[in-house]
Symmetry: C2
Subunit: 151 residues, 2 copies
């Protein structure tokens, strides 16, 4: 599954007239599999394992290319706003572990009523929304006992 997804990304890259290169393959392979949002340096460190002469500049450039193709997207967290993760499929939002950073998409939110009400009350015409849940993933729950913030 990972292999075919990697191939899909590379084919898309090719279709758009980009060349398939060693550095790009290394970055695609790792981004396809990543279950944490990664910042450019994270990507750099991981990519260098597969492609040792990788330059950090190429990481920036490749993330931009993948982002333009809609394959990865930027993720904002309180401490780091320049993280990247495979893009959402359709209408999905992120759930991120505040301890280890593990990220998962979810879908099925319904803000229609809320948006309609706020639209009325504020006079804004609402174009989009941004929703992100923070929590502790299963493997981090034993490690941390923290207070829960409701609603």
């Amino acid at each position: 599954m990972t292999v075919t997804e990697t191939e899909r990304w590379l084919e898309l890259l090719e279709q758009k007239g980009s060349r398939i290169t060693g550095p790009r393959k290394a970055i695609v392979e790792l981004m396809v599999d990543a279950d944490h949002a990664l910042n450019p340096v994270d990507v750099f460190d991981r990519a260098r394992v597969k492609y040792p002469k990788m330059g950090l500049v190429t990481v920036y450039r490749t993330l931009e290319v993948l982002s333009d193709l809609g394959l990865v997207e930027r993720v904002h967290q309180a401490d780091d706003c320049h993280m990247y993760l495979r893009a959402a499929q359709g209408h999905e939002h992120l759930l991120i572990c505040s301890c280890c950073g593990k990220a998962a998409y979810f879908s099925g939110d319904d803000l229609g009523m809320l948006i309609q009400r706020i639209s009325m009350e504020s006079g804004f015409s609402i174009q989009g929304h941004w929703l992100q849940l923070q929590g502790l993933c299963q493997s981090c729950q034993p490690k941390k006992i923290q207070t829960q913030q409701g609603e």
Copy 2:
């Protein structure tokens, strides 16, 4: 109302053992009233009108102090993740105009059901959420006719 709110901020500052200074007054006055999220340079430019010898470093430092006191908070937007706005009162979320940047808080979202479901499905224990609506404010609607992104 603005005057008393400014005073409240300054008193809080004083209570916490900080000194009330010219630069801080200028920044507090402008942040109390701001209806747009402002980045440090925005704050700098505006504060210099009232306090011409203001240094940019002081802006950074003062925003941090106000943020530590819970009086302002950092706002993330697609193009600029280091913007500051007066802090939410209780459980509020932001509505921001994608054209002019006008910001308004709203409350009354209820994600309880959603959170419970996602919690079940994912195994995460959910601690908090981050919700932001983007749209066009009343005065920007005539200017731009844009496609609407649903739900």
